[in-house]
């Protein structure tokens, strides 16, 4: 008897895992092509171009055919502005967190200093702390600081400091830094300082050594960290929810708002685009990491 015969349990488990992981996503994508206005009921795929008969006898123009809901999305100002906010926040916070996080990783690898152990530990804490706790904490910090500044500087009306895009960006930078640092640190593990010594020995000063030798060698780690920070920022709901203000709605916040009102296949179309973007980033990350070895 073959002792390594596969147990049927493995098959069942595999099917279940894939079902619960991917069925919702596939369902979500399928509903993005729904010919019905509600995404509770599937009215079949949209097949015709031009006038489209919705149930409840409404007729809408659908020049995009099956991609009706995607076109509809682009007409939606709120969606467009939320997309713009989301991307702005993600880009600025990714770049800032990558720079700061990489610097932190280099410092932790290179130097011995007091509180080094504590600094390393303090990187893990934001990762393991529940996001909602972080969110509340940041909210309290901002509101206290703004209250104090507003009253002490005598700011009134529109000039008062309030929550908005900048506060979201700052908090996204804060929670992204540990992730970037840890990813870059992993890359630095195998980085021998003799590479830098060799560069200096050949006549390169510290700055040239960094840009010509150190940075190209750790670049894959830095890019992985940056992509991770970017996806984290795109996805974030909890911390954004606590730190956002009027005019700074992001996509996750917007979608959550929609769900409480009416759910149209627009949400599915939006989510579909989003899934595709994130999947593309994950593939890119994989490519970068496989190229390292």
């Amino acid at each position: 008897m073959n002792p390594y015969k596969r147990s049927p349990f493995i098959k069942v488990a595999t099917v279940l895992v894939y079902f619960f992981l991917y069925a919702p996503i596939i369902g979500l994508i399928v509903f993005a092509f729904n010919s019905s206005r509600t995404n509770v009921f599937f009215g079949g795929f949209i097949t015709q171009w031009g006038p489209l008969q919705m149930e409840g006898s409404t007729v809408v123009q659908s020049p995009c055919g099956p991609f009706h809901w995607f076109c509809d999305l682009t007409q939606n100002r709120e969606v467009m502005s939320a997309t713009k906010n989301t991307l702005t926040i993600a880009l600025i916070s990714t770049i800032s967190a990558t720079v700061i996080g990489t610097m932190a990783a280099l410092a932790l690898q290179r130097y011995n200093f007091k509180l080094k152990g504590f600094s390393q530990l303090s990187l893990y804490i934001p990762i393991v702390i529940p996001e909602i706790v972080m969110g509340i904490g940041i909210l309290v910090l901002f509101s206290q600081a703004f209250n104090f500044l507003n009253s002490s500087l005598g700011l009134l009306g529109d000039s008062r400091l309030t929550l908005g895009l900048p506060t979201v960006i700052v908090s996204h930078i804060a929670f992204s830094i540990p992730f970037v640092t840890l990813v870059v640190q992993a890359r630095l593990q195998g980085f021998d300082k003799s590479f830098e010594e060799a560069a200096m020995d050949l006549g390169a000063n510290e700055l040239v050594t960094f840009w010509r030798v150190t940075f190209p060698m750790i670049l894959p780690g830095v890019l992985s960290g940056a992509l991770l920070a970017f996806t984290l920022s795109l996805d974030d709901f909890v911390i954004t929810f606590f730190t956002t203000g009027p005019g700074a709605t992001t996509l996750p916040i917007y979608v959550y708002g929609l769900l409480r009102r009416i759910i149209t296949p627009q949400v599915n179309a939006l989510s579909t685009v989003w899934v595709l973007v994130v999947v593309a980033i994950v593939f890119l990350l994989q490519r970068i990491q496989s190229r390292e070895t």
Binding site: S194, F195, E197, A198, M200, D201, L202, V208, V213, M217
Partner: protein, 369 residues
């Protein structure tokens, strides 16, 4: 130009330990390395040889003392401003650059023109026999080829001094032997000073003009390979370089560079050459190399001659290695095989009685530590 390419003057280097203490890596080292010399620092790991080299390169700064290169005190001069180049033990080739880019790096830093860079890189690669490899990446090369790239990269700038930190450590034995000869030839061709760090005594003896034997941060002896091997100035050096038999004794009298030493184990006096410095009454080590002991059927000398019993015979082709038991001690004796007999009785056998002659001119009396 100064007489000395590199000079270390009373250099001390202390490193902090993670426990908050200090390690003394280099302990008041003074050495002068002449221009055009192949100089080796030899010692086991932790003896301070690599730290000394790194202080010349500028990767470390002395805690006290001074490093001079071409007569100029280096102080805290950074590595990129020193007229030396280094071949690293790990090669430290830039993995994201081709062979050409690696070798060109140093010239680029000097602001050399494109054509000049091309010419000089080609010449350096030719010198290490890597012509045609310039577009490869380091990971596409064998260990020996990577070693050559590291060498080409370091010599392309024609530094005053080339520092080599165990550059052959990662190569297999055969390649290492080849590279030893090549390095020596390259050094003679370039005429630049080589400072070579190694723990391999044979490597140091083969290549060097002069050797500094180091232990625990100190230089024990400096001299030519012949001096180091034939006149070690203490037991440590005699033991570290080659193989030796040691007898412990007390100096009874000194005369014209020779010493009479009382050996308690033999209850007699032995005569030998004073190697290094010893004084009357001092407890010393008497050292005889195994290849310098003569075996005979009867006493051939009035002094320094002892009868023993063969304990072990190892036939290794060119030589026979014997252990001879003598007053409870065992002496190693190496005899060259000068006969081609198949008759086993023609060779030494275990249990056979033999006389050992320790000629005074081959017997060295030295400090026991």
């Amino acid at each position: 130009m100064s007489e000395f390419a590199v000079e270390l003057q009373d250099v001390v280097k202390r490193f902090p330990t993670p426990e908050g203490g200090e390690v003394l890596a280099v302990d008041h080292v003074t050495m002068q390395i002449k221009n055009g010399e192949f100089f080796s620092m030899l010692g086991s790991s932790g003896c301070g040889k690599t730290t000394s080299l790194r202080m010349v390169a500028g990767f470390e700064w002395p805690t006290s003392g001074e490093v001079y290169i071409e007569g100029i005190a280096q102080g805290h001069t950074p590595p990129f401003k020193r007229p030396v180049n280094t071949v690293f033990q790990s090669y430290a080739l830039f993995q994201h650059m081709t062979v050409f880019q690696n070798v060109a790096f140093g010239l680029e830093m000097d602001g050399a023109g494109k054509d000049e860079i091309k010419k000089r890189v080609a010449r350096a690669l030719e010198m290490v026999q890597l012509t045609g490899m310039d577009r490869r990446y380091p990971r596409q090369l064998s260990g020996g080829q990577q070693q050559r790239v590291a060498l080409a990269r370091a010599i392309v700038k024609t530094p005053d001094v080339l520092l080599l930190d165990e550059p052959l450590g990662a190569l297999d034995l055969k390649l290492r032997k080849e590279m030893q000869l090549e390095l020596k030839a390259l050094q003679q061709k370039l005429g630049i000073t080589f400072v070579y760090v190694t723990h391999d005594q044979e490597e140091a003896l083969t290549m060097s003009d002069r050797i500094a034997v180091m232990s625990q941060g100190k230089v024990l002896q400096m001299g030519s390979p012949v001096e180091i091997y034939e006149r070690p100035n203490c037991k440590f050096v005699a033991d570290f370089i080659g193989t030796s038999n040691f007898l412990e004794g007390t100096v009874k009298s000194l005369e014209k560079g020779m010493a009479n030493v009382f050996i308690p184990a033999f209850n007699t006096e032995i005569k030998g050459i004073v190697s290094g410095e010893v004084s009357v009454g001092e407890t010393v080590a008497v050292s005889v190399r195994p290849e310098k002991i003569r075996l005979a059927d009867k006493a051939v000398l009035n002094q320094n001659c002892f009868e023993g019993t063969i304990d072990l015979v190892t036939y290794i082709g060119s030589d026979t290695h014997l252990y001879v038991g003598l007053n409870g001690m065992k002496l190693k004796v190496w005899e060259q095989n000068k006969i081609s007999s198949l008759d086993p009785t023609a060779y030494y056998t275990v249990g056979q009685k033999v006389w050992l002659a320790l000629f005074p001119e081959n017997t060295l009396v030295m400090a026991s530590e």
